[in-house]
Symmetry: C2
Subunit: 138 residues, 2 copies
């Protein structure tokens, strides 16, 4: 019983991870997922190890890591010579980028609400938003 390793197809991998089939094949092409063994008919045969790896990737994506960053993480993991501090550094660097983006978006939102608040909201063809956007000056 122990030792019985069940293989499954890409469709099952897709359903169990929530990553869609084309995306899995794409991950294989760009090298973040390994080339799995094939059946005689050419079907990909996956195992638990692939499931874990794909979940790892999916979680990283949900955390907003780029494929490059994920690649870096996986390289560390694959080499089995990653150190906690390296991974932490990568993570915090990414968190910095995220908080910068938040800051930018907040400014942007303020800008938008600011110009929108100047509108009367009436049905007149003369709008402070448009006027603002058309103003000269770089």
């Amino acid at each position: 019983m122990a030792g019985t390793i069940r293989e499954f197809r890409i469709g099952e991998l897709s359903k169990r991870t929530g990553v869609n089939i084309e995306t899995i094949r794409y991950y294989e092409k760009i090298g973040v997922m390994p080339n799995p063994p094939r059946t005689p008919a050419g079907y990909r045969g996956y195992r638990e190890i692939h499931l874990n790896r794909l979940r790892f990737i999916r979680r990283c994506r949900q955390l907003g890591f780029s494929m490059n960053e994920i690649h870096a993480l996986l390289t560390l993991v694959d080499a089995n010579r990653y150190s906690c501090s390296e991974v932490q550094a990568l993570t915090l660097r990414h968190a910095e980028m995220v908080s910068n983006k938040i800051r930018d978006l907040k400014q942007l939102e303020n800008g938008l609400r600011g110009i929108a608040s100047q509108c009367t909201g009436e049905q007149v063809p003369d709008c402070p938003i448009i006027d603002t956007l058309l103003e000269p000056g770089k």
Copy 2:
């Protein structure tokens, strides 16, 4: 003197707006910038009107509007039958999207800092971040 309309080339338009040359031609191709008149040699000839329009577009982009949204705004402006309330609605709709994005990114940042805080930061090859990412469960 008044009435002397100076034409200028794409390079000058680019410098005065901060939008680069290829992007200007791209905007022309997708129809947000008009086809300008050409010199006999085929050079594009721009005037103040183009400058204003391009600045409008650039500002919209800085405010995070998609090209589709900009297209919609410009169509309203071009038809000269826009109403302030339409423009305001479009702007507020966009502001909503921005604040949603901010909310998502904040969650994301919390997630990242949360897992990073579990690290010792030491040079050991065993990392709670990696462990977390490798955990089973969809």
